[in-house]
Amino acid sequence: MMRSVLPILTVVSVLLGIWVLSVVPMNIHLAADQAQRDGVAVVPDTPIARQDVGALALALRNTAVVPMTYTLDRPRLPGPQQVAAELWKTTVGTRISSKKSLVYHGWVTLSATLLGFGIGTTLGISLAVGIVFSRTMDLSVMPWAIASQTIPILALAPMIIVMLGSLGIQGLLPKAIISAYLSFFPVVVGMVKGLRSPDAMQLDLLRTYHASASQGFWKLRLPASMPYLFASLKIGISAALVGAIVGELPTGARAGFGARMLVGDQYGQPLVTWAALFAAAITAAVLVGIFSVLERASLKRMGMAR
């Protein structure tokens, strides 16, 4: 246990250290302005003169102002403790039914993510089966699947939302479709590889039994593809979450992580944006974690994990 925890803690503390140290130079100009308004003497004494002074130099000449860089209401870069406090306030400290609750916004994004992931995974597996069993589909579908991922989703998402909106489809489904669009691809690629993973000898063995194609699929190809499927699902679920958030950005959605990020940006509340960002990252980590646990449990049951 210690062996795996220690490296992770090391990396996390290094990142946190870089973050904490960056807060001072990022916010020192804002903090100096604020201090001056509060009646503290600052050198140089005008904001315009301070613009010409580098962040580190300004911090060294006004050491008394440095602690303030961690407590600004609208910092350029909030300190980790500010983000943590905002996260706490908007999850544990707020009623779930409130529009300010990140749990509420999280559920809005998560429901679109899960629906989109379901659609994307189903589509991905079906396409993979088609590609493996039909030469025509192999030649025709794969290039389009690859091409689909080269289009920037940020450009495509508003078009999908608007087009579906004009058809009267709103709310969950358009976001879910963007999620599905991002998550089907890793599933197709992984499942094609997985379904093709049995070697020539294993396929010959089935020929000696005169097994049908469907028997080959259910008894050999599908079980053999399971490790590949789980790897794809883990990529797919995080892609689906990104898709749902992207789907919330262009339409001025009122709810969801994407809406919170937008609100924070537009109303100059960086803490809101940062809290939403971290909440989304934590959600993704939990989702991937759940699939890792499922993966380990089922591969162990299948005797494929050592």
Partner: protein, 283 residues
């Protein structure tokens, strides 16, 4: 999903041996006349097999030995209907190899055990039975019987990775025996195993052959293995793949391991080696 006619087809191949009756000469099970197989490759045609003629009678243990590229595996695959000869005539149980394969006339053992890691040993042996549509009760009964036959009773619930390489290969032999085909085709089944395990498995294979009276085609590149196991040794040579010599073994059917020190054994081994050397002289 599963054709209901399959076990019946199986019954036909089983019945054939009985028709011959006691006292009659054993019938020919596999008949090859001037079999050719040419692969078209980018570098021009490759003659994998040229003018191969051979009869294998019921109950024989026939080894194919030769250097790599001599077509021994290719010929076994032709018998199995996994490759199609480009010339000549080849019949298995009086049918084309393709039809014989569809009638599930043989069990095939590959060089690697190729057990499914997600199935237990019992589940692996059951695989062909599920595909051929045997009833649940019959599946269980057959699995128990063939695992007993290869000395793996009690390992039914273990997963492949819990077994040694030799035990895995025995499980794959059990899998090939499970549906009671008369013919057992083995492609260097013990090639990846160490000498001691191999000796042990050779001894067990002979006992198994004596008990089940199968017709066995066995590809190997080990001279002692071929001589120890076979009633007939087919020496092959490469480019083009062809038969260099066919040796009828004079050893008794009952063969303890130390038979390998007898002058008779050594004489046969000598003849096999001469055949192999002759094949090599012209390249």
């Amino acid at each position: 999903m599963i054709s209901s006619t399959d076990p019946r087809l199986l019954g036909n191949t089983l019945g054939e041996g009985l028709l011959a009756g006691p006292g009659a000469a054993p019938p020919t099970v596999i008949a090859a006349k001037s079999v050719d197989l040419t692969f078209q490759t980018g570098d021009g045609p490759v003659h994998a097999l040229k003018d191969v003629s051979l009869d294998i009678k019921k109950g024989e243990f026939v080894s194919f030995i030769g250097p790599s590229g001599c077509g021994k595996t290719t010929f076994l695959r032709c018998i199995a209907g996994l490759e199609t000869p480009t010339g000549g005539a080849l019949t298995v149980n009086g049918m084309s190899p393709e039809d014989a394969r569809k009638a599930r006339a043989y069990g095939y053992v590959f060089q690697a055990a190729g057990l499914y890691p997600w199935r237990t040993i019992g589940g692996n042996v059951k695989l062909p039975l599920e595909i051929m549509g045997f009833s649940k009760a019959e599946q269980a009964e057959r699995v128990a019987r063939v695992l007993e036959l290869v000395d793996l009773a009690g390992f039914e619930k273990k997963f492949p990775w819990q077994l040694s390489g030799g035990m895995q290969q025995r499980a794959s032999i059990a899998r090939a025996l499970a549906f009671d085909a008369d013919i057992l085709l083995m492609d260097e089944p013990f090639g990846a195993l160490d000498e001691i395990v191999r000796d042990h498995l050779n001894e067990q294979l002979l006992q198994l052959w004596a008990r089940t009276e199968k017709t066995i085609g066995f590809v190997t590149h080990s001279i002692p293995e071929a001589v120890y196991l076979s009633t007939k040794i087919v020496v092959m040579s490469p480019r083009p793949g062809r038969i260099a010599d066919v040796i009828e073994s004079t050893l008794p059917r009952e063969r303890p391991l130390d038979i390998r020190d007898t002058p008779e054994f050594i004489a046969i081994a000598h003849r096999v080696r001469d055949g192999l050397r002759a094949g090599h002289a012209d390249d």
